[in-house]
Symmetry: C2
Subunit: 188 residues, 2 copies
């Protein structure tokens, strides 16, 4: 089975650059639930992470790009493996989504970016990009199954988990994940 690149792995290359990125992202993730997106200015982030604002802009030319990385490069939550069985991959995917969104910084970033997307182009771009990236990542995991999901199919799979967490403020149980995947598979 092919090794899949986890969303939370940092880019290779110059180790000092990679360390700087990882450090800044960790600081940003710590700050976000406290100060919110509006409060997390590049000035504050530079001060707290001990790099210059110029360095921040070199890594993340827009705050949308930074928020994108904050959302996707969270703590390691057990990234799912590729597989031949669509059900197995889909269940693992939704459990991984649930785990990722149990992290306060990821939660805060997703909520903030979503709320701002109506009036802020950078947030809108980050939000759409996260969705496109995750859809592609799931299709990558599904390669051995021979099945690739359309945008509609992807939406139907992840939506109930997002709404249960963010709108209903309820736990996502293993049973709920199974129910979602069962219904989803019925018409796939």
């Amino acid at each position: 089975m092919m090794k899949v690149v986890s969303s939370s792995q940092l880019p290779r290359g110059n180790p000092r650059v990679a360390r700087t990125r990882a450090n800044v992202l960790a600081v940003a993730r710590g700050l976000l639930p406290e100060v919110g997106v509006d409060g997390m200015t590049y000035s504050l982030l530079a001060q707290e992470s001990g790099v210059t604002r110029q360095t921040l802009y070199r890594h993340w030319p827009t705050r949308g790009a930074l928020l994108f990385d904050v959302i996707l490069h969270g703590p390691e939550v057990g990234y799912p493996e590729q597989g031949t069985d669509v059900r197995t991959v889909a269940v693992a995917w939704l459990r991984s989504l649930r785990a990722g969104l149990s992290d306060p910084a990821t939660r805060a970033a997703v909520l903030a970016v979503t709320a701002r997307a109506d009036h802020d182009q950078e947030s809108a771009r980050a939000l759409v990009q996260v969705g496109v990236d995750r859809h592609a990542a799931l299709n990558q995991l599904l390669l051995p199954s021979g099945r690739q999901l359309t945008a509609d199919q992807y939406t139907l799979l992840y939506s109930p988990v997002m709404c249960r967490l963010f709108l209903e403020l309820r736990e996502v149980s293993d049973e709920f994940v199974d129910t979602v995947v069962d219904q989803w598979l019925a018409t796939l």
Copy 2:
């Protein structure tokens, strides 16, 4: 067919009281997309709607209660009718949801309440209450069909529309509504 009470009808009773409520809600809906939830204080709302803060507190003891009404008492968008056919009612429900969320004040209120629910009890209560209220309202429409939806079934129905609108920032087409309902019915 029984007449169904629309979510946007105002309470009957004293007409002056009803007028005051309707007026304040209209002002609140106008302010919200401009000033946000944080900016929409009872002081500002009292000033803009020409009533005292005491009157506001009498009608809405908490801002959560006010936000609940702002979300649910939007412009009339064609509230669905009761029906014997589950598919017909479900399609009408999702189209009505789409129409309601195309209103900027409703959108702004839903987004703000969702983003705040993580750290603000009032917003969390308003958000959960909206969901419970809508689930009950849909079951009311489904009475003639003899079918009543569980919480899981309700989540599976509305979630894809919410995520398409608020996370993917895409239009909800009639075809997408049909796709959602078809899949949903397959395992109902």
